[in-house]
Symmetry: C2
Subunit: 119 residues, 2 copies
Amino acid sequence: MKSRIETDGYGRKKVIDACMEPCAIERGMRIIGGKWTGSLIYHLKDGPVRFNDLNRLLGGATKKMIDQRLKELEARGMVLRTVINDRPIAVTYELTELGRSALDILEDLRLWSEKYDIR
Amino acid sequence: MKSRIETDGYGRKKVIDACMEPCAIERGMRIIGGKWTGSLIYHLKDGPVRFNDLNRLLGGATKKMIDQRLKELEARGMVLRTVINDRPIAVTYELTELGRSALDILEDLRLWSEKYDIR
DNA sequence: CCAACAGGTATAAATAGTATACCTGAAATA
DNA sequence: TATTTCAGGTATACTATTTATACCTGTTGG
């Protein structure tokens, strides 16, 4: 059942079958469109990064936000968390294949933002 | 001044020049990544749509949200609002060129969501 | 007349994000 | 030795955004 629109003689359009649950765009946005999520993924593109480094790279997001987003992404299998050292504790985060699969979209978004000088 | 990361002998990475303001990804996300914004733009891809039809197409977003998002997009020059009739009032919203320029990203996002079955 | 639709607005409640401070343990600095 | 700094977070309180619900003015259809 696809939602569609019909047009009357006045150029007015009417919906025929509205999608009653979030469509693919909305579902996708809720993953990579959360505040700071896209940036987070993008900053992991070149390999593992440590927690506090992500915090600095995103300058503006709080640790709590970084932490929360990383946990969400980990739970979705987009990011892998690895403890590389106890004493002193050291943790890295890196993209999984699924995480990498979102990079093209983010790269296009970056180019779009720059091209149209989005502020 | 580009932010970059240096690696030490343990595979740990350190940030060299953190970007202190939202980077392009983040700026872009704040436009098309707002809740319902992407869907809204996407549903305008085939031409003008009326307010209440958008409301139905997005089933789940409230009129207030639709209204607010449309005003944001209008203010950014991504959407054009046209009163096509007084008595009875009729209004349509359509994408401007700038609005259209975001469609490719949204289409890729839709394909990504579907391919990886994002819920 | 009455209900339904158009395009919204008002109010309150729930959810999301921010600012700030703090914790444990190790190591570098004074 | 004492203090500060860093690691990787957590706790608390506050602000902003989003949601749910109801309502408004005016027009049309039954």
